[in-house]
């Protein structure tokens, strides 16, 4: 920017172009951010006027709400186990499809298709698939002589059930990985082959480093998304059994729209922001250790 000839028409056009967004940004984002921050220091039940209570919400969050920590644990469980599994599976499928197989487009469509299924419909489908008595999963397990668990009705298996269901939706990440793989120049593989690298070495020394920026992107987005998991739990388990699938945003939703503790829920939202921010910063900090950026 800096010195440019001020052009009146250009400036007026620009302001008209960004007018809707500047309004939207102020009314629906910046304003609510400020309001939310203020609410987090207040007791506000919507029907009664808000009352300033200092740090009481935050104090209660950290010392007086064991359910919050349970929900945070559940959410981190999904993140720490679900996100890596998701990346491993989507990358494996992308690698397989990238082997110049016949019918790549056909198989790509099949693997991608589940990820366009709306979440509510997906939840209903999987409730039926995971039905302990007559569901598809336990039927297939029974073919191998395994008696399947109670899945969504089991405190121990409900979260793994959500993770399995999530793996059905790897299509988006798979497509991103495929695009990344197709961007790796062939001459790198040729050079590695000339040097006598076998398939595993080519994967380890060419594919992985060249793909690491893509993996990084998928990892960061996956973590942010999983920390906000809500819909599946609301529909499939209502947070149960024994709060095993009460996730952080679900707890926040309950506080805000079931109990109408708007102030407390606002404080919870800010804590979530801090968690997401910290996770992202940690990722950025760790990135130089494993993410390879080509010198320009």
């Amino acid at each position: 920017m800096g010195k440019f000839k001020k052009n009146k028409e250009e400036i007026i056009t620009a302001y008209l172009c960004v007018l809707p967004w500047s309004l939207g940004l102020s009314i629906f984002i910046i304003g609510p951010i400020i309001a939310s921050l203020i609410f987090s220091f207040m007791d506000y039940s919507v029907v009664l006027p808000p009352k300033f209570i200092g740090l009481a919400n935050y104090k209660k969050m950290f010392f007086g709400d064991p359910l919050l920590w349970k929900s945070l644990y559940n959410t981190l469980y999904m993140t720490v186990i679900g996100v890596p599994l998701n990346i491993i599976l989507s990358l494996s499928v992308a690698l397989l499809l990238n082997q110049k197989v016949k019918g790549e487009a056909f198989f790509r469509t099949i693997f991608y298709l589940p990820s366009v299924v709306p979440q509510v419909a997906m939840s209903l489908l999987w409730m039926w698939i995971l039905n302990p008595q007559v569901g598809l999963v336990n039927y297939i397990l029974s073919l191998f002589g395994i008696k399947g668990p109670m899945w969504l009705a089991s405190e121990q298996w409900a979260k793994p059930a959500f993770i399995i269901m999530g793996l059905w939706g790897i299509g988006g990440n798979m497509v991103i990985f495929l695009a990344g793989l197709q961007n790796i120049p062939q001459h790198l593989y040729d050079a590695a082959t000339v040097d006598g690298a076998n398939i595993w070495q080519r994967f380890k020394y060419v594919t992985l480093p060249m793909l690491s920026p893509t993996i990084f992107f998928v990892l960061v987005m996956g973590i942010i998304g999983t920390l906000q998991i809500f819909t599946q739990a609301y529909i499939m388990t209502a947070g149960g059994p024994m709060d095993a699938t009460l996730f952080y945003v679900y707890h926040l939703f309950n506080k805000a729209f079931r109990d109408f503790h708007m102030g407390y829920a606002s404080a919870m939202a800010w804590f979530l922001f801090i968690i997401i921010f910290a996770a992202t910063m940690l990722n950025l900090k760790l990135a130089p250790k494993w993410v390879y950026y080509e010198a320009e």
Binding site: P32, R108, L125, G172, Q228
Partner: protein
């Protein structure tokens, strides 16, 4: 060596076919359930082919809930959201990418910064705003904001405008074209793939949106499919045939759109991965 290659080819195909089959199986299972007479649904081991196939569950869906109304609401919401996003986002993206005006960089940085914020932070004040406006239990909170833009879409489109050569704009300027004319006649046609991607994302997002309707809508008159399906499930949790039929009817338009616009879907997703 050749044998080794053959074996690895066989393994690759085996894994792909096995994986593909397990990914398609839930769909087959759903379709099978939706067309099964009630007494066959709970058979174990299950029968895959309904005998005889019945469409009774699809009829039931319309008897149990006002499914046509829910469908209509969803279509209206989707169209309004697409219209809103296409009205607000390309213009703002163009101004950020191509025009020079005071305040541009600050506003852009603020725009980027808000993308970091989880929507839960703004959710409660937004609810209170719409409540104050008397918009609860109407569709308004679910589409009006789209006319005011969305940071992610603006960012994505801006990245595309940035890749267009400035020489085109300059040439048009010399020919006396206005800045808006440059946007409309020169830049916009060149980023149609990105516009298509944004349209698809908006369609998917609206069709999918659950927490929004859950917060704002109570009655069927303003309710979209996502929440309607949930109400249906709450009331008829054992009617698996009808539930699967309803789910299929919700999924079908998305799959149709996907098949028609497959190229753009894939393009859009990989572009967010590379540009984002």
């Amino acid at each position: 060596m050749n044998l080794k290659k053959l074996i690895s080819k066989i393994i690759v195909y085996f894994l792909i076919v096995l994986g593909g089959f397990s990914f398609i199986l839930p769909f087959i299972w759903t379709v099978s359930t939706a067309f099964k007479p009630d007494e066959q649904i709970f058979l174990f081991p299950p029968k895959w082919i309904p005998k005889p196939p019945t469409i009774i569950h699809f009829k039931e869906v319309f008897e149990f809930v006002p499914f046509g109304l829910l469908y209509r609401n969803t279509v209206i919401l989707t169209l309004l959201n697409i219209a809103g996003i296409l009205f607000s986002c390309p213009l703002a993206a163009y101004a950020f990418a191509k025009l020079r005006w005071p305040g541009r960089d600050v506003l852009f940085i603020v725009t980027l910064a808000t993308m970091m914020l989880p929507p839960q932070v703004t959710m409660i004040p937004q609810f209170l705003i719409f409540r104050r406006l008397g918009w609860l239990n109407t569709m308004l909170p679910l589409w009006v904001p789209s006319f005011f833009g969305n940071a992610f879409n603006i960012f994505l489109l801006r990245q595309f405008f940035m890749t267009l050569p400035r020489e085109l704009d300059d040439a048009a300027r010399i020919d006396g074209c206005s800045f808006f004319g440059i946007f409309w006649r020169i830049n916009l046609p060149l980023i149609i793939p990105a516009i298509t991607a944004v349209t698809i994302f908006t369609f998917m997002g609206t069709w999918n949106n659950f927490i929004g309707p859950l917060i704002y809508v109570r009655s069927y008159s303003a309710m979209p499919l996502s929440l309607g399906l949930r109400m249906f499930q709450e009331a008829y949790s054992a009617e698996w045939g009808a539930l699967m039929a309803a789910s299929l009817m919700m999924i079908l338009p998305v799959i149709l759109v996907f098949f028609f616009l497959q190229k753009y879907f894939v393009q859009g997703i990989s572009l967010t991965g590379l540009k984002g």
